[in-house]
Structures are given as C-alpha cells and as structure tokens.
C-alpha cells in the first residue's frame, strides 16, 4: 500500500503543477480562441427573416453534428457561447482549471505506473524525456491525424474520432516504449510499426470540410494547443521523474551495495 500511496502522491503533485501551469497558458492562448470561435458557432442565420425564428427550423449545414446544448436552443444568437456575466466567466474558468488538474493527475498516474513497470531509474532529467514521449504519444501523434479543433469546425462522427485518438495514443506510447527499452530487433521493428500504423490507417475525416471558423483562427489554435501541451508534458514528466526518483529503479534496495 505504501508504494501505491507514493505513486499516487507523485501523480498528484506532478498533475497539479502541470495542470496549473497549462491553465495559465490556456487562458491567454487557446481559451480566447475558443471563445472567438464560438461566435461562428450559430445554428441559424444571424439576422433571420421572422419565419426562421421558429424553434423547429432546421439547423444550418455548418452546425450539423455540433450541438453544444442539444436541441433546447436551436436559434442561438451570435456569440451566445461567450460568457456574459462575471459569474459565468469565473465558473467557466474554474471548471476548465479543474479539468486541467484532473487531466494532469490522470496522465501523471499513467506515466508513474509505466515508470514503475519499466523499472529503470528516473529523475527530473530523465522524466523530461518521459514527458517528451508523452507529448508525442498523447498530443502530437493524435493531432497529426486529428488537428486540434475549435468549436464550430466540421469533424467526422465523434465516436470514430475518439476511437482513432485512443488507438493512436496507445500505439504511439507502446511503440515509443519498445524503441526506448526493448532489445530484440523484432520488438524495435514492432515499435516503429505501432507508431506508423494509425497514420497509415488514417484518421476519420468529414466527407466535405464545411466548418464556419476562419482558417486563421483554426491555424493559430493548432499551434497554441500543441505549445500548451508541450509545456504541460515537460512539467508533468520531469515532476513525476523527480517524485519517483527514490522509488523507481531499486534505489531503496541497492543503495547499501554501491
């Protein structure tokens, strides 16, 4: 139980540090772009003729498959997603921060568990390499097939994209672990195949891209998202490595023989 507790506290510390840092960066990079993009996320024309205001009017093509609030509000006005009161805005920031912290702890638990399974010594510097691998597996590789999306962008069916995202992350992580720690050439080759395979299969994309978000916003968002993820993973990896320095790699047992 002691080992579990130390793993969880390592993940907690690393997750809170990385989640906090990425929250600050997000609020000045990705979140303003999300709020801006939501202005384009409308389900009926902005200045509709009187008849179009009926709740039964069909959604515009650009908005299909992209409903924030179900069918409750089919005639959203321009920019409705943007918080209007201070309380709404604060609430939105707080839930986003909470989600970031949870994401940090979750990835921290995953990386700490794998570090323990692999059993190689870790410290802050080696942890940085683990973080780089995490960035590749959970941010760069999925984004290579499914670019980070703003609200209002057209995408293929959600379940298909989620499945491809998870499969790509798992394959990339497994492939990198094989390349980093396996010795048999067959396993190394399998690692390369695992990394490449999801991209050969290809990510699910909509038949006709018809998003309403300006391409400049979307392009800016992709780099902002990946930049934030890079910072997040750098902190998460090195903090986890630092926290597990005395735990993973047998230091506790081998110290008196060295």
């Amino acid at each position: 139980m002691d080992l579990i507790r130390r793993l969880f506290s390592a993940a907690l510390v690393a997750g809170v540090l990385s989640g906090t840092a990425v929250s600050v960066v997000q609020q000045v990079t990705t979140v303003p772009l999300i709020l801006e993009a939501e202005k384009y996320e409308v389900t009926v024309p902005v200045a509709p003729p009187p008849a179009a205001a009926a709740p039964t009017s069909p959604p515009a093509p650009a908005a299909t498959g992209h409903e924030h609030h179900g069918h409750a509000a089919p005639e959203r006005s321009l920019g409705e997603g943007v918080p209007t009161t201070a309380e709404e805005a604060l609430n939105r920031v707080m839930t986003t921060v909470a989600a970031n912290l949870l994401t940090g702890v979750a990835y921290g638990l995953l990386i700490a568990g794998v570090m323990l399974l692999i059993g190689e010594r870790v410290d802050a510097r080696r942890g940085l390499l683990w973080g780089a691998a995490g960035f590749f597996a959970f941010a760069l590789a999925p984004a290579y097939g499914l670019p980070p999306e703003l609200p209002g962008m057209a995408g293929a069916q959600l379940e298909a994209r989620q499945l491809w995202w998870i499969a790509t992350a798992v394959c990339s992580a497994g492939g990198l672990l094989a390349l980093a720690f396996a010795r048999p050439p067959a396993l190394l080759a399998a690692g390369v195949v695992a990394i490449v395979l999801p991209h050969l299969v290809g990510a699910p994309h909509p038949e006709a891209p018809a998003g309403a978000v300006p391409p400049e916003l979307a392009a800016h968002f992709v780099s902002a998202s990946l930049g934030g993820a890079a910072l997040f993973w750098a902190i998460l990896g090195s903090a986890t490595g630092f926290m597990l320095n005395r735990i993973v790699g047998g230091d506790d047992f081998d110290d008196d023989f060295e």
Binding site: I4, T96, T103, G108, L117, G155, Q162
Partner: protein, 58 residues
C-alpha cells in the same frame, strides 16, 4: 545484480505490478471522464480543456 537485490526483486514484483496497474487503471478512468465521457454536464465543464488538449470534443 546482488543476491539481496534479486531476492527483493522477487518479493516486490507482485507488489510493484499491483501498484503500477492500480495507478494506470485509475488514471485511465479519470482520463476517460475528463476527455471522453459524453454526459452534457461533464462535457460542458471540461469543454475548454478538451479543446485545448485536442481531445475530440463534439
């Protein structure tokens, strides 16, 4: 590898595996909740974080 570290390796293998899998299982569970679960309230709360982390959101 010393005899003592061999012995301790054998003794801690199962303990290590249990701890590692517990952490990974719990981590996956949280990650699924934050990044992938679709109930409206979870989706709305995690919305901006999901987009920023490039989880497929909608």
């Amino acid at each position: 590898m010393t005899i003592r570290s061999l012995r301790s390796t054998a003794a801690t293998t199962s303990r290590t595996a249990v701890a590692a899998f517990a952490a990974m299982l719990f981590g996956s569970f949280i990650l699924y909740g934050v990044g992938f679960a679709q109930p409206q309230q979870i989706h709305d709360a995690a919305h901006d974080a999901r987009h920023s982390f490039a989880f497929p959101c909608h």
